[in-house]
Amino acid sequence: MPREDYEVIIGLEVHSELSTKTKIFCSCPTEFGGAPNTHTCPVCMAMPGTLPVLNEKVVEYAVKAGLATNCEISRDSKNDRKNYFYPDLPKSYQISQFDKPLCEHGYVEIETENGPKRIRLTRIHIEEDAGKLNHDPYGRGSLVDLNRAGVPLIEIVSEPDLRSSQEVEAYMRKLKSILEYIEVSDCKMQEGSLRADVNVSIRPKGSKEYGTRTEMKNMNSFRSIVRAIEYEVERQVEVIDNGGTITQETLRWDDVSGKTFPMRDKEDAQDYRYFPDPDLVAIRLSDEYIQNIKDNLPELPESRKERYLNEYHLTEKEANILTSSKYLSDMFEKASKICGNIKSVVNWLLSDVSRILNEKELEPDQMPFNAEALAELITLIDKGTISSAIAKKVLEEMFTTPEKMPSKIIEEKGWVQISDEGAIKEVVLQILSQNSQSVADYKAGKDKALGFLVGQAMKLTKGKANPQMLNKMFIEEINKI
């Protein structure tokens, strides 16, 4: 059966690290990095006799996420233990939520080829992250780093509503932007603070029953998620077309070979023996508490987009791209405010900056320079200190040496535009003396000759001469001849 005759069914479990200052059950910092086991205490190292104390900020952040994704917030929730042995799990159980998650029955809307589509969320629950194993490259064993153990996570579980890798990417990007907007997670995928378990199955179009699904765990880049889904769908189609059946299993995506492999641990057969954590009391939320969070929810992408259309008169497309990333959108607003040239900020962000980000395969939040730098670049153009051509070169430099402001770059590189009348005149006179034929041509009515002369002058000054001044001065001087 051809690929087009199959329907692809995808559901996601997205884990997002919350950006609280301290861990979920102790007061250790959540900061990324740090020497191994320095962000730890007896509680997150699971010393005998220690007890967890729930960080109230974690509940608040999760409720925020739930409200921003149209979930119902549970008034009566609890923590459960998920039991399994692994060296990075110091208590040998993860404190999570089983049958009473904080948030349920939500949805987010994504843009698809066929217009907007609602992706339903089953639930959002809070849990703790595990530590990390550092494998000795010389094969002498593994070392446990518990800095990440106890960092708060939310797990956002979707219904199997996604039908293609494109929809998955759009959904992930939407979630990422919502979480960034409400400032509950920095969503740095490269640091693992946003990652997804992807469940994929296929079925003949029109069929009502789901096929057997496979799960790809801990995917942390949009590109690999899309590639992995494409690969896995092809694989499943091939298996079924050859008369085989899909085994329900956990797969590992290998980015280098571009293939999925079955994970060899016995996780699938595992029984986590969930039960309510007796060390923690029930989480009871009042209507007032929830309403208060709702009232203070930051501006979400949709309303920001509306504002851009109405206040800044941006096009639908411009507003969509800018608001898709809170980082990009914040950058736009901040730079615009500093330099006052909205149109120019939009153009730079959506053309040259986006182009370079694409080339370098970076996400907007990985832009190395800040809004102040971008605003200064635009002001330098507006003041005539540099030409647009030079500005593009400065932007490239800003990506490689982000610690330098544009003014510093042009000063060091000697890229300041020549706008001094005497200096321009000198250049003009020199070019005129060397190109008498072009002068004659211009006088004979060939306007193109002027362009040639300006071009020669730019060449001589390595692009630094002010083009408007050159134009004006050439005409003046030719008329004198």
Binding site: P42, M45, A46, M47, P48, G49, T50, L51, P52, V53, L54, R81, N83, F85, P87, P90, K91, S92, Y93, V144, D271, R273, Y274, F275, D277, P278, D279, L280, V281
Partner: protein, 488 residues
């Protein structure tokens, strides 16, 4: 005067009158331990080497006014499942044989901040699982009333040490009777406070929803005093309750006139030794004679308490003891080829048979397919047990039962029969299931001279009433004046 015969309130009085010094008290206990510990075997770790120096230090601080607590210089023994910074906390398990906690349990912090002197860590059943202290990986503690008998458990080391005068008082922990039952066997006073009254932070968890730390003392007044020290909300334990602090000594009024006492008949049925029953009946008569109103009552669900208890306690234990995996601390097997070997062999070699039995039982009752039939059902029964006690307490101020169906049994007779060992908890477990306070006080001896314990159960956070009831009875019968352990 023999210092180690005195209660803490007597010691305090003599200290206040300057009849004795802090150093003299500690020295007396150190000498007593040196003399008698070899017979009783109550300690896992003794701190006799450092205790004297510590006593002198405290004495200096008291003179300079740096330590002002009325308990400064009073020695204490601590059950070996309470974390003590710098001193081994073994839980009487090979798993933690050399484990030194990097922090103090909240109750230990309180002991230290009062300038009290830790004489050592007391023996127990491994991870508090047992009723005879025979399941300690290191030694079998003997009952000072008869060295061939068990001291009860799991706080057997604590109860035996108090009975033998090796410590003036001790801290124990009680999950299903582990303070009250050994106190009954050793003829001392053991109080399990209401769940949530004392912080569990630093108590190596057996069953988190049942565990509670409490005092084991020579008499009721000491019990009230030690409860004053250890009770109170702790932000490190969210299950500890934030209520106004009480003075439990003030509750001791030596008066039970009009006190309504219920005697649940379920605790006097089959399996309860006749001499125990008779001792209880005599005690009940005493209460009547002192003006209390006594009635027989019924808590029918109590029959299911033992099964409920073992399901819940083992389920929680199976999870709580997961952290002993050979990775970060504690015993690690030398025999491994891979990760699974480390887990399996460390736990196989590090845990004793009873601990493994309970982990397996607990793992089973939480497994998918069995959860509803066991764990969930047990939680439902737990709710019923609570309701029935609540109902009984609408009518009565306290309930009186035996602490244990028998007096202390011989070492070795039950250690290979888990079910019979579990029956030793039959009178005490429902108190933990309902989260109520319970105290065991001696109410006589049997024909062989072994002490019999009476359990008084109270309403949630109403330790005052059970302490007063126990105190009033104690003042009347003066058990300590009539009976003493044999080797004194």
């Amino acid at each position: 005067m023999n210092i180690t015969d005195l209660t803490v309130h007597e010691l305090k009085e003599k200290l206040e009158k300057k009849e004795i010094t802090i150093s003299e008290i500690t020295k007396a206990y150190v000498d007593r331990i040196v003399d008698k510990e070899k017979d009783v075997k109550a300690f896992v770790t003794t701190l006799t080497d450092t205790a004297l120096a510590q006593a002198q230090e405290i004495e200096e601080k008291v003179k300079k006014g740096e330590v002002t607590s009325e308990y400064a210089g009073i020695p204490i023994g601590i059950k070996d499942n309470l974390c003590t910074k710098g001193v081994k906390t073994t839980c009487s398990s090979k798993m933690l044989e050399n484990f030194i906690a990097p922090y103090d349990a909240t109750v230990v912090e309180k002991i230290n901040s009062n300038g009290m002197i830790n004489l050592g860590k007391l023996n127990m059943d491994e991870f508090a699982m047992g009723a005879s202290t025979e399941y300690s990986a290191f030694k079998k503690t003997c009952n000072p009333w008869n060295l061939n008998k068990v001291p009860g458990g799991s706080s057997g080391g604590s109860a035996a040490a108090v009975a033998a005068g090796l410590v003036p008082w001790a801290l124990g922990s009680d999950t299903g009777g582990s303070i009250r039952q050994p106190s009954s066997f050793c003829g001392v006073v053991g109080l399990k406070p209401t769940y949530g009254l004392v912080s569990r932070y630093g108590l190596v968890a057996f069953a988190s929803s049942l565990d509670q730390i409490g005092p084991i003392t020579k008499d009721v007044k000491d019990s009230a005093m030690l409860l004053n020290i250890i009770a109170g909300h702790d932000e490190k334990d969210t299950t500890s309750i934030n209520i106004e602090k009480k003075d439990y000594v003030k509750a001791l009024k030596n008066d039970v006139k009009g006190l309504k006492i219920g005697v649940p008949k379920e605790y006097f049925g089959e399996g309860i030794n006749s001499e125990v029953k008779e001792a209880l009946e005599r005690a009940i008569e005493e209460y009547k004679s002192m003006g209390a109103i006594v009635e027989e009552c019924s808590v029918p669900i109590a029959d299911y308490a033992l099964a409920t208890y073992y399901i819940i306690a083992c389920a929680e234990a199976s999870s709580n003891l997961g952290r002993f995996d050979g990775i970060r601390y504690g015993y690690r097997t030398p025999n491994f080829e891979n990760l699974k070997d480390i887990f399996v062999n460390s736990r196989t070699e590090g845990f004793g048979a009873e601990v493994k039995r309970r982990i397996i039982l607990g793992t089973y009752v939480l497994s998918s397919g069995y959860y509803d039939a066991y764990y969930k059902k047990a939680q439902q029964v737990r709710t019923l047990v609570k309701k029935e006690f609540d109902k009984a307490f609408e009518k009565y101020d306290i309930l009186i039962t035996p602490t244990s169906p028998t007096v202390a049994f011989d070492i070795g007779v039950r250690s290979n029969n888990p079910l019979e060992m579990y029956l030793a908890d039959i009178c005490t477990v429902s108190v933990n299931i309902a989260g109520l306070p319970g105290i065991s006080i001696p109410c006589g001896v049997d024909k062989t001279g072994m002490p019999i314990g009476m359990q008084i159960i109270g309403k949630h956070f109403d330790e005052e009433t059970i302490l007063n009831a126990a105190y009033t009875y104690e003042q009347k019968i003066k058990f300590r004046e009539k009976y003493k352990p044999e080797f004194k």
